[in-house]
C-alpha cells in the first residue's frame, strides 16, 4: 500500500516498500510554466535531504528540486529527456522525476499529507 507525502517545497513522494517516487506538485508545475529541459540525476547517487536532486528548466529560468529525504537514486525518469512537458501535463503521474531508496524512513514523519499540503498552498 503506497502512501503519498508532500513537502513545503511543493514536491510529492509516493512511498512503497522503502522506495519513494518523487515529483513536483501540480501547483509547482503551474508556477514554473512550460518546461523545456529536466536535468536528471544518475542512478546510485546518494543524496542528503536538501541536496539538489534535479534541475527543471522552463523557457525563462532554471529551478532546483531538492531531495526531500536522505537516500540513494534507484531510477530517473528517462522519458523526460525527450518530453519534459510531461511534468506539466502529468506532474503527479507520468511526469515523476526520480525514485530513491530511503535511508531513514523516520524522516517521512516530518512531511505533510495531502490535506496539510492543500492547506499549505491555500
Amino acid at each position: 500500500m503506497a502512501t503519498t507525502y508532500f513537502t513545503s517545497d511543493h514536491e510529492w513522494l509516493r512511498v512503497e516498500g522503502g522506495i519513494a517516487t518523487v515529483g513536483i506538485t501540480d501547483y509547482a508545475q503551474e508556477q514554473l510554466g512550460d518546461l523545456v529541459f529536466v536535468e536528471l540525476p544518475e542512478t546510485g547517487k546518494k543524496l542528503t535531504k536538501g541536496d539538489t536532486a534535479v534541475v527543471v528548466e522552463s523557457v525563462k529560468a532554471a529551478s532546483d528540486v531538492y531531495a526531500p529525504v536522505d537516500g540513494e537514486i534507484t531510477e530517473a525518469n528517462g522519458t523526460l529527456s525527450s518530453d519534459p512537458s510531461l511534468v506539466n501535463s502529468a506532474a503527479t503521474g507520468a511526469g515523476w522525476l526520480w525514485k530513491m531508496k530511503l535511508a531513514d524512513e523516520s524522516q517521512l514523519s516530518g512531511l505533510m499529507d495531502e490535506a496539510a499540503y492543500k492547506a499549505h498552498i491555500g
Binding site: 523545456v36 529541459f37 536535468e39 528548466e57 523557457v59
Partner: protein, 366 residues
C-alpha cells in the same frame, strides 16, 4: 503597503481579469504569463497577433528650435537627416562610449521628436536629457500614456478591424493617428507589428476591441523575452550595459557613418578610439547543442579551456525549437560556426557561435 515602491500598470485590472501571473521587472509589477502559458503565447505571436502592455516603457517628447541639436548631442544620431515620421534606433552613451540606454527616436515634425526609453532607465534618461537640454532651446516632456504593442503577421488586420488603418506605414516609421496618440510600426519580436502610445481611456477602448478579435491574445513578459531573444534583439541591462560600447555590442549599424567620423555626441571620442582599437569582445548569437538551455551569466570557454567570454541572455526558443542565447566572446572567436563551451552547473555544454537572428525578421519594409 508601506515601503513598497512597486509601480502598477494603468490597465492592471484588465490583466488581473485576464488571469495574468505577475512578477517584478524594472520596478514594475508586470504580467509575466497569461493562462495560455509562455510557449503558446510565443508561438501565437509568430502565427497570429500578440498584444503586449508595455506601459512600463516611457515616451518623451523633445521639441523646440534646437531639438535637433539637443538630440545630436545626446545620441550618436543625425536627427536633422531623419524624414518626418522616420524612426531610428539610437543610444545615450556615457563619456566612455558605454551604453546608458537604447532608444527609438522618431521625428514627428521639423522641431518635434518622440523618444521611447526602457523602463529601468526612464528616470535616469529623463534626468540626463533634461540636464543636456539646459544648453539648448529645447524642451523635454515625459508623456503620460498607456503603451501597447501588437505584434505578429495579423497585427495590421486586427488593428484594421478595430478601426485603425496602418496601410502606408512602414517599418521604423511613426505617426500621430489621433490626438495624443503615437503609433509606430516597430517592436521587439522580429515580427511585423506596432507600438501605440495613447491616453488610458482610449487604450481601454482599443484593448476591448482588439481582444474581441479571436486572432489577438495577451502576451506576457516571459514570451516577450523569448521572442526578442530569438529575434537577436538586445535587452539593456543584460546584453548591453554602460560597460559595453556599440562597437563590441555589434550595433554600429545604428550609427550613421558621417556621425561616427565627425559627430559631437557624448562619448564620441571614446567610441572613435574603441573602433580604432577594435573591440576585444563582440556580441554574438549562441546556439547550445542539445536541449539544455544556457542562461545569462554562464561563463564561456574555448576548446582548450581558456576563458572565452560570457552569456548575457539565454533560454529556450519556442519557434527555433532549441535553446537560444547571446553573449560576448573574444573577437577572434566571433565567427559563426566557432565552437565554445558554456559552464552550466559544472558541466561544459558545447555552444556554437551563430548568426543572429535565430528566427528571420518579418518586418514590413516596403
Amino acid at each position: 503597503m508601506t515601503g513598497d515602491d512597486t509601480r502598477h500598470l494603468p490597465l492592471e485590472d484588465i490583466h488581473v481579469t485576464a488571469g495574468a501571473r505577475f512578477g517584478a521587472f524594472a520596478g514594475w509589477s508586470m504580467p509575466l504569463t497569461y493562462p495560455a502559458g509562455v510557449m503558446k503565447e510565443h508561438l501565437h505571436t509568430r502565427e497570429q497577433a500578440g498584444l503586449f502592455d508595455i506601459s512600463h516603457m516611457k515616451l518623451f517628447e523633445v521639441s523646440g528650435p534646437e531639438a535637433v541639436a539637443l538630440l545630436n548631442r545626446a545620441c550618436p544620431l543625425d536627427a536633422g537627416a531623419l524624414q518626418i515620421s522616420q524612426s531610428k534606433l539610437s543610444f545615450f552613451l556615457n563619456e566612455a562610449g558605454g551604453i546608458l540606454d537604447d532608444l527609438i527616436v522618431t521625428r514627428l515634425g521639423d522641431n518635434r521628436f518622440v523618444v521611447v526609453a526602457n523602463a529601468g532607465n526612464a528616470f535616469a534618461d529623463e534626468k540626463h536629457l533634461r540636464a543636456l537640454a539646459a544648453d539648448f532651446d529645447a524642451r523635454v516632456e515625459p508623456l503620460d500614456r498607456v503603451f501597447l504593442a501588437i505584434q505578429g503577421p495579423e497585427a495590421w488586420a486586427a488593428l484594421s478591424r478595430a478601426g485603425i488603418e496602418t496601410g502606408s506605414l512602414l517599418f521604423m516609421h511613426g505617426v500621430e493617428p489621433r490626438k495624443n496618440w503615437f503609433m509606430s510600426r516597430s517592436g521587439y519580436t522580429g515580427e511585423d507589428g506596432f507600438e501605440i502610445g495613447l491616453p488610458e481611456a482610449d487604450a481601454r477602448d482599443l484593448v476591448a476591441k482588439l481582444l474581441g478579435d479571436e486572432r489577438v491574445l495577451w502576451i506576457g513578459l516571459a514570451a516577450r523575452d523569448s521572442l526578442r531573444l530569438e529575434a537577436g534583439l538586445c535587452l539593456h541591462g543584460q546584453d548591453i550595459t554602460p560597460e559595453t560600447d556599440p562597437a563590441s555590442a555589434a550595433l554600429m549599424w545604428a550609427i550613421p557613418k558621417d556621425i561616427r567620423a565627425s559627430g559631437a555626441f557624448i562619448g564620441a571620442d571614446a567610441l572613435r578610439a574603441a573602433v580604432e582599437r577594435g573591440p576585444a569582445q563582440k556580441r554574438v548569437g549562441l546556439k547550445p547543442e542539445g536541449r539544455q538551455p544556457v542562461r545569462g551569466g554562464a561563463a564561456l570557454f574555448d576548446a582548450d579551456g581558456n576563458p572565452a567570454g560570457q552569456v548575457t541572455s539565454g533560454g529556450f526558443g519556442p519557434s527555433a525549437g532549441h535553446p537560444v542565447a547571446m553573449g560576448y566572446v573574444s573577437t577572434p572567436l566571433a565567427k559563426p560556426g566557432t565552437r565554445v563551451f558554456a559552464d552550466v552547473r559544472g558541466t561544459k555544454i558545447p555552444v556554437d557561435i551563430s548568426s543572429l537572428p535565430f528566427t528571420p525578421h518579418r518586418y514590413r519594409k516596403g
